[in-house]
Amino acid sequence: MESKTPASETLPIRAVRCLRCTYVASPVQHFGCEQCGAYGDDLEEFVLSGDGTVLEIVNVYRHPDSSLTVPAVIGSIELIEGPVIRVRLTSPDLQPGSRVFAVDEAPDAALGLVFAPALQKAS
């Protein structure tokens, strides 16, 4: 699947698919499939669409890591390819069921992925 967003430190989102059992995992790892234990050539990297749906969303007010900026917004996102991931969101106004997509807004890869409302994508 082709990426819909420009190349960056965080995008496109990559995943691994197990060719033995079809389990999909993201972030990418090649240690071995969590479902069946396959490894090596049985794990195939591919690019995720970056489109998903918000399952839950919360504001983070306090964090033990003082290097991270709060308040921040984080959500559980179910990607259309199946994996559920937790990522930063650009808006606290999103609701469970909102469609979102990955955007290139993280200043560096260490801060992880950022997702924005799907309406923003259309505009």
Partner: protein, 381 residues
């Protein structure tokens, strides 16, 4: 093979050093205080102890001997156990298996910890998380709280009632980190941490120590111990996380581990009188109560409001104050739960005694990755 396929195992002595905010007190002092109290409670000398397991998470390598040598260097085997929040739950499990299998007749399971930096294996895998490190346990459980409130159609005051109940229990426990009763308004008006979770709905992590002595029938007879105060361990179960899709891994892991442990013990959830569970965050108590089968799905908030989980209710949940009020020094927490269940099943819990307690269950999850459950029974049940 199950624990009860082997020799019967009993808890005969319990001891604690109060859980508290960080101090300059050495972990050695914390630990020996708890062990000496357990020995005195059992009516036993240190020289009778044949092996020791110590649960700890933040003290580094080789903690047992620098602490236990001050009880007398007897040369017994000592093993350090780390399993995150469930560290001393696993230490207790190993002690029970030692005694059940006949390797030893008297084994110490202890927990000790000081406040300090935590190194988590998950952060050292080389796999960079998508959340950039933002998802710590408080954020994880805040997300689960949102899910629970939406699925059960309840508000945040429902979750806050868990903290109110457990702070009331903790106010009656001299070993508790937090010993102050809190109102619903105080909990809801406290400092926000993540999502709807307030500070008083999150456990305090400090320091402390716990110890229990596990013995066989042979030891009770040989050492002349008081059999009427011996609480039997009916089951010891430990599982690790599987793949659950979008479902909460803590809840699913709790469900399977508890089902297995109750089956091994030969009792049903509705027979439990006291339960100590992993309420590091208030939402967990509602989720785990339902997952354990102590009430129906979506019923925990109603039953909590009706007083069913209070001391004197249908089943007392976290009569010690739980992790929320008794505290969560991490290493000691699991054995501390066993101490509370033992005290309850002996009828020695004073102002926080659950009447007529026969069966108790202790439950901890360790960073989601592991779950440990023990079922205990009063003497002469």
């Amino acid at each position: 093979m199950l624990l009860n396929d082997y020799r019967p195992v009993y808890v005969i002595g319990i001891g604690l050093h109060r859980y508290q905010a960080a101090t300059e007190t050495s972990y050695v002092q914390l630990g020996v205080t708890a062990v000496r109290e357990a020995l005195a409670d059992a009516g036993m000398e240190w020289s009778s102890v044949e092996a020791a397991y110590t649960g700890t998470t933040r003290l580094g390598m080789a903690v047992s001997r620098p602490m236990l040598r001050h009880l007398g260097a007897t040369g017994i085997p000592m093993t350090q156990v780390e399993n995150a929040s469930a560290s001393s739950s696993s230490a207790f499990r190993l002690a029970c298996r030692d005694v059940a299998a006949g390797f030893s007749d008297v084994v110490l399971a202890a927990g000790v910890d000081k406040a300090g930096k935590v190194n988590r294996g998950e952060q050292l895998t080389g796999i960079a998380p998508h959340d950039g490190g933002l998802v710590v346990p408080s954020v994880h459980y805040a997300l689960l709280a949102e899910e629970y409130m939406r699925a059960s159609n309840v508000g945040e005051e429902v979750i806050a009632r868990v903290a109110v109940k457990n702070h009331l229990n903790g106010s009656k426990n001299p070993y508790a980190h937090r010993q102050r009763e809190r109102s619903l308004d105080e909990v809801l008006g406290d400092r926000p941490i993540a999502g709807s979770l307030k500070r008083l709905e999150c456990c305090p992590i400090g320091e402390g120590a716990s110890a229990v002595l596990v013995v066989s029938d042979a030891a009770i007879d040989r050492l002349g111990l008081d059999r009427s105060r011996a609480v039997q361990v009916l089951s010891s179960t430990q599982r690790s996380e599987e793949l659950y899709g979008a479902k909460s891994f803590d809840v699913e892991l709790t469900k399977t581990t508890t089902e297995q442990s109750l089956a091994e013990a030969g009792i049903r959830a509705e027979q439990l009188d006291v339960v100590e569970l992993h309420d590091a965050f208030a939402i967990e108590e509602l989720q785990y109560t339902e997952a354990m089968g102590l009430c129906g799905p979506g019923q925990a908030s109603r039953e909590l409001a009706n007083g069913e989980f209070a001391i004197g209710g249908r089943v007392a949940i976290s009569p010690s104050g739980g992790l929320l009020a008794m505290g969560h020094p991490i290493g000691p927490t699991g054995v501390g739960q066993i101490a509370e269940i033992t005290r309850q099943l002996r009828g020695e819990a004073g102002p926080r005694q659950q009447p007529n307690s026969t069966y108790g269950l202790a439950h901890l999850v360790g960073l989601g990755a592991v779950c440990v459950v023990h079922v205990l029974a009063a003497a002469g049940r």
